[in-house]
């Protein structure tokens, strides 16, 4: 414990007053605002269609979202979906599964849920804006290393099994979405697709193939693709505009 008042430097002169370091304020409110999520089906695809068509479709999508809550979710999150089923005894059907793919744009947007029930893999493709869907619940919100988890079909069934009566995992609003860096172990080859090839660019598989096979798969790589300027589709400005439109309309 030293007296701050009578501090003397090693030189022998009185020490210069050092102001205390500025406190770093982590403003949780600002961080929450910065995180925006725009569902991928709002972004119009590149093409020669009239933007009026996308505007009208967006109005319909926003109208549906006002009445029915479509939560934020990513490929790799576990969802529970209840649909109206005229042939079921309770007239409704509940399915729990991991989202392996989100496809389609506009009102026809779909997502595929996968689960293994009694040793049988089941995949159901639901339309986000279909009126038959009565509830969508996110049981576990997380991202994975890839945008498309179709390789789970050739992975060991333990990676696709989820309990039908799973309880929702609680999480705070301010946290960032966790990325599950799970590397999945596969069944022995042959697989439905050659997932080791660079065109699928899969990071979430633990390849236990010999080095020779992995090198041979790199023969199909197309390194010029990332430099192809015609393939670039910069959606940042479009996303900004659409995000403003959608958030304003939903807040009303």
């Amino acid at each position: 414990f030293s007296f701050s008042g009578s501090r003397i430097d090693s030189d022998g002169k009185p020490a210069k007053f050092q102001p205390p370091p500025k406190p770093v304020i982590i403003d949780k409110q600002k961080q929450r605002e910065e995180r925006r999520f725009l569902s991928p089906e709002f972004i119009p695809p590149r093409g020669r269609t009239d933007p009026l068509k996308f505007y009208i479709e967006r109005k319909d999508m926003i109208q549906r979202r006002k009445v029915f809550n479509i939560p934020e979710f990513y490929v790799g999150s576990v969802l529970a979906v209840t649909t109206a089923d005229p042939y079921a005894s309770e007239k409704s059907n509940r399915f729990v599964g991991i989202c392996i793919q989100r496809g389609g744009k506009g009102l026809g947007a779909t997502f595929v849920l996968r689960n293994v029930i009694e040793d049988q893999g089941v995949e159901i493709c639901y339309e986000l804006y279909s009126p038959r869907i009565q509830a969508i619940e996110v049981l576990k919100l997380e991202k994975r290393l890839d945008d498309n988890l179709m390789y789970l079909r050739d992975a060991l069934p333990e990676y696709s099994t989820f309990d039908m009566n799973m309880k929702p995992v609680s999480r705070l609003d301010s946290e960032e979405i966790p990325v599950n860096k799970l590397q999945v172990r596969m069944k022995p080859k042959p697989w439905s697709k050659r997932w080791e090839r660079p065109k699928y660019n899969i990071k979430g598989i633990k390849f236990e193939l010999p080095e020779k096979k992995m090198k041979e798969a790199q023969k199909w790589s197309q390194p010029w693709l990332e430099f192809d300027m015609l393939r670039e589709y910069d959606t940042s400005k479009i996303e900004e505009k659409i995000w403003k439109e959608v958030s304003e309309a939903l807040q009303k």
Partner: protein
């Protein structure tokens, strides 16, 4: 094209057609045209007047309307004649009507016989010498000639075709858009002619349509969206089966 759901939960695909600056250009009487009914010339989408000759622009000058990209004729009965120069809107059609849509199909250029007429061609292997997509024989020995209209390679597409009996599901009066069931010939943003259906099953389908047409400056104030009875509107809660 867009999906649309009915109240029972069924999905249908729907094409959006926009009525863009349509005006009636001229009235041709029965005697003048020489047909069975009188005709009305209707023009579509506005275009620049500078690339057409003066004589072609006469029709538009008479009607007092900017130059139109496409001009079509409609056969009309005498009680449905409209004064040239009146604008036509999407509200001319109502949900629940049935419609025929005519347009030029997508041009595919010079195509071979397999794509154009659906011929089976020849096998890829087993000794075929230079013959995999050819038509094969074009006539018999006895005929000693090739019949007129023999299916052969040629220019495919870019011809007028009609889809008949398409149901109108929804009309947007603010942007003048007609939602028509199923697909329609032509590429995206091409010009299209929409008529009341000529099929005998839909003869009595139009109950009290706006006759002769929907006039915007009239007394009738329509809501922004007109829906068919069976459509699921997004303002309703989700569908349940009781």
């Amino acid at each position: 094209m867009m999906p649309i759901w009915t109240k029972s939960g069924k999905k249908h695909a729907v094409t959006l057609l926009k009525v863009q600056d349509c005006h009636v250009l001229r009235y041709i009487s029965k005697e003048e045209s020489g047909g069975k009914t009188s005709k009305l010339l209707v023009g579509g989408k506005n275009a620049s007047p500078f690339s057409k000759s003066e004589s072609a622009m006469e029709i538009f000058k008479e009607a007092g309307v900017p130059r139109k990209q496409k001009v079509t004729t409609f056969n009309v009965t005498d009680d449905a004649i409209i004064k040239p120069g009146t604008p036509l809107y999407a509200a001319h059609f109502r949900p629940g009507q049935f419609v025929d849509v005519t347009a030029k199909t997508i041009g595919k250029g010079f195509q071979g016989v397999m794509k154009r007429w659906g011929f089976k061609g020849q096998p890829a292997t087993h000794g075929q010498t230079k013959t995999h997509r050819r038509p094969g024989a074009i006539s018999t020995n006895k005929a000693a000639k090739v019949y007129r209209g023999k299916k052969m390679p040629g220019k495919m597409g870019n011809i007028y075709r009609t889809s008949f009996g398409l149901k109108v599901w929804r009309i947007n009066t603010k942007h003048d858009i007609i939602y028509v069931n199923g697909s329609v010939p032509g590429h995206t943003n091409c010009l299209v002619k929409v008529k009341d259906s000529k099929l005998p099953t839909y003869k009595d389908c139009n109950k009290n349509p706006p006759f002769p047409t929907f006039f915007a400056d009239g007394d009738e104030k329509l809501p922004e969206d007109l829906y068919d009875e069976e459509i699921f509107q997004f303002t309703d809660p989700s569908v349940t089966y009781a």
